[in-house]
């Protein structure tokens, strides 16, 4: 029983933070966004996605981050969801302008819900970062990060119905300028997936036939939650630093009770999102590793609830904590010049991606009544 990253996991996270601390600064982000907003001169550069940091994207692929949770047989590093969350948290912390979230969530969905062929076809390209991916639900609730026409699109049903996979060039994604300008978003206006109807020529059913889906999308939601944890942790850290320095009425504003209690509330929301997210990630990894049949069944029943709790808490925290960060920065927090708005915008998109808090609370409500209290068990088969 250790509710904390292991030494190895901490090492991975530290490496990610160190790298991003130098490469994915807010200054760099501003450069990327400024390039995107610049008037086009001559031919547009079709090889680059607006709002993305192409060099950083390439670097992450080289480092193997895109494949961290993909099995080695498919070109990945074969690590778990906990490790993937640890890295994704750091990308959220940096508000990195990379198409990472879409790619790794797409890989999770293919890996856990795809056929053997689908896995073999797509995972190596996602692992290498050659191909970008994107994941969303039907209903067009959110501009989807990474969803360009060149991406592998995974479209699920929010209520667990069959999911579809669209190969690049399917013409499904529409360009969208999201409130978060830092990575390529697209809209996927598919109202629903009808098993009776034929899919787009470049689309196919995930898993080969129209079957209920969930295990991959649940894991994907946990990764989005992890990115949100990073975003809100950054919002808290920046706010704490600011209110220690900023003075009004002759004292640091951080000494005012209203500010103190506001910051405490932020920490609480961050802490809740964090424990629920890493618990869900661990549950998924334990499920993948479980050999005992009963153990598998128990964890398989726990995962959807754990994932829903993680995403619900992280979505709520994403909205409230970044809003509080703007507020506690006062007037300056409302300016483009301050950097908190990048967090607010990223959080707004992620909060809605793969289901908002309300959606996931509905899932919790319908499932918890039939699931017993989670209860730790042995790391080896019990002796009784």
């Amino acid at each position: 029983m250790r509710f904390d990253l292991s030494e190895d996991q901490q090492e991975i996270q530290r490496a990610a933070r160190d790298l991003l601390g130098g490469r994915a600064t807010f200054a760099q982000l501003r450069t990327v966004v400024a390039e995107k907003d610049a008037e086009p001169t001559g031919m547009p550069d079709l090889s680059r996605t607006p709002g993305e940091d192409a060099a950083l994207t390439a670097e992450l692929a080289e480092l193997g981050w895109t494949g961290i949770a993909i099995p080695e047989e498919h070109g990945g590093q074969g690590l778990g969801l906990v490790e993937l969350c640890a890295i994704t948290e750091e990308l959220g912390y940096a508000v990195a302008a990379v198409p990472y979230l879409g790619t790794v969530t797409a890989a999770l969905v293919v890996q856990h819900e795809g056929t053997e062929d689908q896995r073999g076809d797509w995972l190596p390209h996602l692992a290498s970062g050659q191909l970008r991916g994107a994941t969303t639900y039907t209903g067009d609730r959110v501009p989807v990060p990474g969803a360009t026409d060149a991406a592998l699109l995974l479209v699920g049903d929010p209520h667990g119905g069959p999911a579809a996979l669209y190969a690049p060039g399917a013409g499904i994604a529409e360009d969208a300028e999201a409130v978060d300008p830092t990575r390529g978003h697209g809209r996927i206006p598919i109202p629903e997936l009808d098993p009776e109807e034929e899919l787009n020529p470049r689309g196919e059913w995930l898993g080969g036939t129209p079957t209920p889906s969930g295990a991959g999308f649940d894991r994907a939601a946990v990764v989005v939650a992890a990115e949100l944890v990073g975003v809100v942790q950054r919002a808290l850290d920046m706010t704490v630093a600011y209110v220690k320095e900023r003075r009004q009425f002759g004292v640091p504003v951080g000494s005012f009770q209203a500010v103190q209690h506001g910051a405490a509330q932020m920490l609480r929301d961050v802490a809740m999102a964090r424990v629920l997210t890493y618990n869900a990630a661990w549950t998924a990894d334990a499920l993948s590793a479980a050999e005992d049949e009963g153990e598998r069944a128990r964890l398989a029943a726990e995962l959807p609830v754990a994932a829903a709790m993680a995403k619900a808490a992280a979505s709520d925290a994403g909205r409230t904590v970044t809003a509080a960060a703007v507020q506690l920065h006062g007037g300056i927090g409302f300016t483009w010049e301050a950097d908190v708005h990048w967090l607010l915008k990223r959080a707004q998109v992620d909060a809605a991606l793969l289901g908002g808090a309300g959606h996931h609370r509905r899932r919790i409500a319908t499932r918890t009544s039939s699931v017993p209290v989670p209860e730790p068990t042995a790391d080896e088969p019990a002796t009784d």
Binding site: P143, A176, V179, Q248, Q327, G330, F334, E337, H341, G358
Partner: protein, 394 residues
């Protein structure tokens, strides 16, 4: 209790409605241009139209070009303006703040020079109160005014410092500005309290010593500006209310700010809510009981805002002073608007998170509501100390 209008008030309203039907959005006004500068010009033109119709300064006395309207009529004016979908006139700062302040504190020469051009929008105004290190703290104003010639009390003032949140500064002829004058001759009087030694100036923006730089908001729009002053010149004749009285004069201005606007804002909120309900009904999300519970709460809050606005007006009419409604309304309005735009994301879906949509803009813009015009924290403190009479925080 009597929540009806008199026949005279109804006649006022009907006349206004008829006029707005002809000249407003449903009539000749036309669409707001996207471009910032063109939009300003469009709103200035709208003010001229209002002014020609005699509607620009409804609450101003007739002898200075106003309509001499009662408080209730003024409320009706702003409610109807909002209801018709019309914009506020370009120089709302001049009409609501500068004009009334000059009428209270300005001398004859100032009134004669400055009042006639306000309603017509021939000269527009901006406000230089806030500073980078004095967000909600008047006493911390650092901008400094000194006499060009310390020995000549009639010499010009030279003003140096930085102001923020000055909307419309790039178009303004005048800036109502508070600066520190210390002992009245440019020096600081040792031991004086910090809100003493402030003076209220009318600054001519048309001089090189005034540098206006746009301040971009999180929405991407440069809605406000920063103002950099380096020995900007103001003649002694443009001191309002006397040297050293700036705090008092500025407070009058701030008190005026919310009265009429409350009616405009609550109607606009109600319109936004109606739009959201329409979307929810269209796309079926109104059938989600959790969504409709939140919509109902917004209805309730919006209606409370409408009623509080009228209650505040009654308090002024009956007892000569505003009730606690001012700060309550500001706080409740900003919170409600923020709840509304956030709910819109859950109702509208992807479009509400795209940068070029109205909902997407409002989502970001609303975050400023609880900061601009006094943060929510300040409003709560004002309510606690001034309305409930709690002891001041040490």
């Amino acid at each position: 209790m009597d929540l009806t209008f008199t026949p005279e008030q109804l006649a006022f309203r009907d006349e206004l409605r008829a006029w707005l039907a002809e000249h407003g959005p449903a009539g000749s006004l036309g669409e707001e241009p996207d471009d910032e500068d063109e939009s300003w010009e469009w709103r200035r033109e709208w003010q001229r139209t209002l002014s020609e119709g005699g509607w620009a300064g409804v609450h101003w006395p007739k002898e200075v070009g106003g309509r001499g309207a009662s408080l209730t009529e003024t409320a009706i004016f702003f409610e109807e303006l909002g209801r018709s979908g019309s914009p506020l006139p370009a120089d709302v700062l001049g009409i609501l703040l500068a004009g009334p302040t000059l009428m209270s504190w300005g001398d004859d020469a100032q009134q004669e020079r400055l009042l006639p051009t306000i309603l017509s929008a021939d000269e527009t105004w901006c406000q230089g109160f806030s500073e980078p290190d004095a967000g909600s703290d008047f006493a911390a104003v650092k901008t400094r005014a000194v006499k060009a010639d310390p020995d000549d009390p009639d010499s010009d003032w030279l003003i140096t410092g930085q102001k923020v949140w000055t909307s419309g500064a790039q178009y303004a002829k005048w800036c109502m500005l508070v600066a520190r004058t210390g002992d009245g001759r440019g020096g600081q009087e040792p031991g004086a309290k910090k809100h003493q030694g402030l003076t209220y100036f009318v600054l001519d923006m048309e001089q090189e010593e005034v540098d206006v730089r746009p301040l971009v908001q999180i929405t991407g729009s440069p809605e406000f500006n920063e103002l950099f002053l380096t020995d900007a010149r103001v003649p002694q004749s443009m001191v309002v209310g006397g040297v050293g009285n700036g705090w008092k004069v500025a407070l009058t201005t701030l008190m005026n700010e919310r009265a009429g606007l409350a009616f405009f804002l609550q109607v606009r909120l109600r319109q936004a809510l109606d739009r959201l309900v329409a979307v929810a009904q269209e796309n079926g999300s109104s059938e989600d009981p959790v969504i409709s519970d939140r919509l109902a709460d917004l209805h309730l809050r919006t209606e409370a805002l409408r009623l509080m606005a009228w209650k505040g007006l009654t308090a002024i009419e009956q007892y000569g002073q505003p009730g606690p409604e001012g700060s309550l309304t500001k706080w409740l309005w900003s919170e409600t608007n923020q709840l509304l735009v956030q709910l819109a994301v859950d109702v509208v879906g992807a479009e509400a998170l795209t940068a070029d949509s109205r909902w997407g803009y409002e989502l970001l813009r609303a975050r400023g509501n609880s900061i601009e015009g006094g943060t929510t924290e300040i409003q709560k403190t004002i309510i606690a100390e001034r309305v409930l009479g709690l002891p001041r925080a040490s």
